[in-house]
């Protein structure tokens, strides 16, 4: 087994075995520690995936559009066209590292504080299982395997929301019930998406006779009818996960009710499964369907940006506001994909990563605020900078990064998406670009409103009790995200550089 194959296997096996180990260790703190070590090891392995030969830069006729740096191809269930086929390239690698990083931070955070509701080791074990599912989705190069990993995430995430959620607000049983209802909504909505994915996958497999994504990318001679059907099914499936307006309504509830670590994973990487799937699977496998549906996708994406921003302007709850902001931000990502240009896809990829970093940080901070003050209501929060200046400062940093200030990570995804839409040209796409830019302005408006409400003014009674300091664990968990938001903002080539060649290859087959 070559080193690359070993890495691919290990990056899934380590958290999987780790989850079992964590669940089996009876002592809670020791188990959480083991979980954190496992997550750290996974991050190391994920980062190592970038080593090795990735010298190719240009696309040439006759070579497949997906050329992974490493791949591992083992038979599993020939009767179902299922192979254990993994690979990593410039499109998936940043997301893989982001997933591993956020899981590590969440596990580390859990070492310090376990949300009430269940044992800490069970939470860590579930986080690791979720990590396996997400990493597997990003690494899968077999359509059926992709679907399988897509499904793996569902129930553990349900359990995290239902078991540990809703308790940040003291409110007894009703808060629990709300968490359970939100979790159920999440599970059913997401399953709705994934069964469509299942049907879409087999529409493609039945027509093409293979489930190999490398062979399928570029259309693989699928008829126009098949491609349209496949794109509709796959697109809907990923639109639920991303989420795309109007299929987003599971998201605010799930985010609001989930425990902090759940929200971070959910917003940081779980949503990316949808956008990644859209790029790699839906657009890659059914390019003709993608071209056909692009205007609809673009219009919905811009609607999502506007609706998300407007809803945020009227939100009164901190976590809910951040959750809805995800709808708007993912709208930019989807707009980028809808343009089907190299710039647009690049925008989507960097937007994905930036949103993962920034929104992960925002949810950590919102969780910290809620834990300290016991409330998430904007009406009861004010003057945080008077009592907890560091927390307020970090919140301001994250909010400004999120609104897309140039020099911070959030800027590139939004700007490039608008640029890509303008580049496509024509009245329709120009209008979309203008509306999206307007949405960007609204984003700034609601995030500044959030800051004004929470950090400025006189300290409210709830805020008045807050101690000024930050725990070491909190700083440790947040610092990497702050640094990444800066690093990607200043040097977007960190993401764009690795994704350049595979995106160029993908765009080539889209034509």
């Amino acid at each position: 087994m070559r080193f690359g194959e070993f890495l691919l296997l290990a990056v899934l096996a380590v958290p999987a075995v780790g989850a079992v180990a964590v669940a089996a260790i009876p002592r809670d703190r020791a188990a959480r520690l083991v979980g954190t070590v496992v997550a750290g090891l996974t991050l190391l392995l994920a980062a190592l995936l970038a080593t090795g030969d990735r010298s190719w830069t240009t696309w040439a006729a006759g070579t497949p559009a997906v050329r992974p740096w490493h791949r591992l191809d083992l038979p599993w269930v020939p009767g179902l066209d299922l192979r254990f086929h993994l690979g990593v390239d410039g499109i998936s690698w940043p997301l893989v590292v982001l997933t591993a990083l956020l899981t590590l931070l969440c596990c580390g955070y859990t070492l310090w504080r376990v949300p009430p509701g269940g044992s800490g080791r069970a939470l860590v074990a579930l986080l690791l299982v979720v990590e396996v599912g997400i990493l597997g989705t990003f690494l899968a190069l077999d359509l059926v395997l992709f679907f399988l990993f897509f499904e793996v995430v569902l129930l553990p995430m349900y359990a995290i929301i239902a078991g540990w959620g809703g308790s940040a607000v003291p409110g007894g049983p009703s808060a629990r019930d709300a968490a359970r209802a939100a979790a159920r909504k999440f599970a059913l909505y997401t399953l709705f998406g994934s069964v469509l994915l299942l049907v879409g996958v087999y529409v493609v497999v039945a027509a093409a006779g293979t489930a190999d994504l490398v062979a399928l990318t570029g259309g693989a001679g699928l008829s126009r009818g098949t491609q349209l059907a496949a794109f509709v099914l796959l697109g809907l499936a990923f639109a639920v996960k991303s989420p795309l307006w109007p299929l987003h309504s599971w998201l605010p509830d799930a985010h609001t009710q989930a425990p902090t670590v759940g929200s971070v994973v959910l917003a940081g990487v779980l949503l990316k499964m949808g956008t990644y799937g859209l790029i790699r699977v839906a657009v890659g496998v059914a390019p003709e369907g993608a071209r056909w549906a692009a205007p609809v996708l673009g219009a919905l994406a811009v609607t999502a940006i506007l609706v998300g921003s407007l809803v945020c302007l009227a939100q009164t709850e901190l976590k809910r506001l951040i959750a809805y902001s995800s709808v708007g931000h993912m709208g930019f990502v989807l707009l980028g994909i809808a343009t089907l240009t190299a710039t647009g896809l690049q925008a989507a990829l960097i937007g994905n990563v930036a949103h993962g970093v920034i929104t992960g940080l925002l949810f950590f901070l919102a969780g910290a605020v809620k834990d300290r003050t016991g409330t998430g209501s904007l009406a009861e929060l004010s003057g945080l900078r008077e009592t907890a200046p560091r927390l307020a400062g970090l919140l301001a940093f994250a909010a400004i990064a999120s609104l897309g200030l140039p020099g911070l990570a959030g800027f590139w995804g939004e700007a490039l998406a608008v640029v890509a839409a303008v580049q496509v040209g024509g009245a329709f796409w120009t209008t979309l670009a203008v509306l999206a830019a307007l949405g960007g302005a609204l984003t700034a408006a609601y995030l500044l409103r959030l800051l004004r409400r929470v950090t400025h003014g006189r300290p409210s009674p709830a805020v008045g009790r807050v101690a000024p300091g930050l725990a070491g664990a909190e700083l440790t968990a947040w610092a990497p995200l702050v640094l990444l938001a800066l690093a990607i903002g200043l040097a977007p080539t960190l993401v764009l550089g690795v994704a350049d060649a595979p995106v160029a290859a993908l765009v080539e087959v889209l034509r």
Binding site: V77, P78, G79, L80, L148, V152, A187, F192, Y202
Partner: protein, 512 residues
């Protein structure tokens, strides 16, 4: 049968049937001569295990035929027939294990119970090998007839008597329909052997223009649809399941249902033209899964919920069969894939269903009925392993990881539907899976919910509240309960193994 007066009989082919029938006789003798419940049960269990081994050994060899007239044989023991026989024998063994607490509690007479179960197993073992309609119907009746009595065998339970009568009446009507259909088929074609019928319909498509032929085919299919509890012939199932003791309900929802599927499959695959059966079955499949799932959403009693969910599951099994005839000129490959998908789904399903019922038996006091879902509240804290196994089975039935067996079952069905160009049916199956998750998730969430009645939570752990006492049934002791746990463990292990290596089941289900 005319022709030669002396038939040569292949006794090796009949070995599984001999073993099963011999088990029934031995159980009867043991009950009469020894008269100790434990001995009777051991004999029955050994007999069932022997039948499974015998069927597997015979099935490993080449296909054996016997009772032949010319090229038409009434008894064909091939790969799939052997698989069916093994599954039935193992199901009987499993249900016997589940019945431990029930029989120890004296809720049913041991000898009769074991004898009837063995008789029923005999029918199932023969069923898969049936080569003509009469053998098929007789085998199916041998499978179901003892169950009428088993359902009514709960001492002092009015509900079980009602359930038995409901089941009996409905089932007899169904059998009559099938028989009538078979008779009409004979009138039209002059044949009863499944392969002969298939060949006849293939040679002379004009036969189908006769209204009588369509009526006959429809009657046979509808009669068998009763056995799998397909909507709109399902109304008996929930009442019967709920009235029967839980192990018998387990047998009903696994063995009896599997029997119906096998019979339907034999008729559809070999004998009847898919152009007539296809639309009927497609409609039945859609109705069955949709109605089953929607009604299951509203159930408050555990066994009723499982009953309705198994109605829905029958719909998923029927779907590939229904898709067959929807597009004309179907490739032979797609057809065999569809049959294999139905068999594979049925096998995945019975494993998971047996696991779920075993967990219900384990979580309930000895001899009790299934209780309400609320009774299961907090079971995960008291019996973490049993609850985990139950959760795995339910999640599998919902078709999600970590219940990979159920996931692959759904994948198999959807794949065969799309390979057969029945995309709309695949979408219906897929959307039904979402509805299914809603109620399976409710049960799983109840298992893992915190204990009820916070007032009693302060009390020592050994003194659960009113509701809790009904569930926990105290720390379970005794040999009866142990066999239940063994069955549960085996079913769970099998579910995990076929979940990781579904190709095992797919290979067995696909005819070579």
């Amino acid at each position: 049968m005319t022709g030669s007066l002396v038939q040569s009989i292949d006794h090796v082919a009949l070995l599984p049937a001999y073993l099963a029938a011999g088990t029934a006789v031995l159980v009867l003798l043991a009950d009469v001569l020894v008269g100790r419940g434990r001995v009777t049960l051991v004999v029955a269990a050994l007999g069932a295990a022997g039948t499974a081994v015998g069927a597997a050994v015979v099935g490993a060899g080449p296909t054996r035929r016997t009772f032949c007239v010319g090229t038409d044989c009434s008894y064909v023991l091939g790969d799939r027939a052997a698989l069916v026989a093994v599954v039935f024998a193992l199901l009987a063994l499993g249900v016997l294990g589940l019945s431990g607490p029930l029989l120890r509690a004296g809720a049913a007479p041991v000898g009769e119970y074991a004898f009837l179960l063995a008789c029923s197993m005999t029918g199932g073992v023969v069923l898969g090998a049936a080569g003509d309609l009469i053998t098929l119907i007789v085998a199916l009746e041998t499978l179901t007839l003892p169950i009428y009595v088993l359902v009514g065998l709960r001492r002092g339970s009015l509900a079980s008597a009602e359930a038995a009568v409901t089941f009996f009446v409905v089932s007899v009507v169904a059998t009559t329909l099938t028989l009538l259909g078979a008779a009409l088929l004979y009138a039209v074609t002059g044949g009863l052997h499944l392969d002969r019928l298939g060949a006849l319909f293939a040679e002379r498509p004009d036969l189908l223009d006769l209204p009588l032929a369509s009526a006959a085919v429809t009657l046979v299919v509808l009669g068998l649809a009763f056995k799998v509890a397909a909507v709109p012939f399902h109304a008996w199932a929930p009442a019967t399941y709920d009235g029967a003791s839980v192990p018998v309900a387990a047998y009903l929802s696994t063995a009896s249902k599997f029997g119906g599927v096998v019979a339907l499959l034999a008729v559809v695959q070999h004998a009847l033209p898919a152009t007539v059966t296809g639309p009927v079955l497609a409609l039945l499949a859609v109705l069955t899964m949709t109605v089953g799932n929607l009604v299951a959403l509203r159930q408050r009693r555990t066994v009723r919920l499982l009953a309705w969910s198994s109605v829905a599951q029958a719909g998923y099994i029927l779907a590939p069969l229904g898709a067959l005839a929807l597009a004309a000129g179907r490739a032979e490959e797609a057809r065999t894939a569809a049959y294999a998908a139905a068999v594979a789904y049925a096998v995945f399903f019975v494993v998971l269903e047996l696991g779920a019922f075993a967990a219900v038996v384990a979580l309930r006091p000895a001899g009790a009925d299934g209780g309400t879902i609320a009774d299961l509240r907090g079971a995960a804290r008291r019996r973490p392993w049993v609850a985990a196994a139950f959760g795995l089975a339910l999640v599998g039935l919902a078709g999600l990881p970590p219940g990979l067996a159920g996931l692959f079952a759904k994948v198999t069905v959807v794949r065969s539907l799309l390979a057969g160009e029945a995309g709309w049916l695949a979408l219906v199956v897929a959307l039904n899976a979402v509805v299914g998750l809603a109620y399976y998730l409710r049960v799983v969430a109840t298992l893992y919910a915190p204990d009820p009645a916070p007032a009693t939570a302060a009390a020592p752990a050994g003194a659960p509240g009113q509701v809790g006492a009904a569930v926990a049934g105290g720390p379970v002791v005794g040999a009866g309960a142990r066999t239940v746990l063994v069955v549960l463990a085996v079913a769970t292990v099998v579910a995990v193994v076929v979940g990781l290596a579904p190709q095992l089941v797919l290979d067995l289900a696909a005819p070579r």
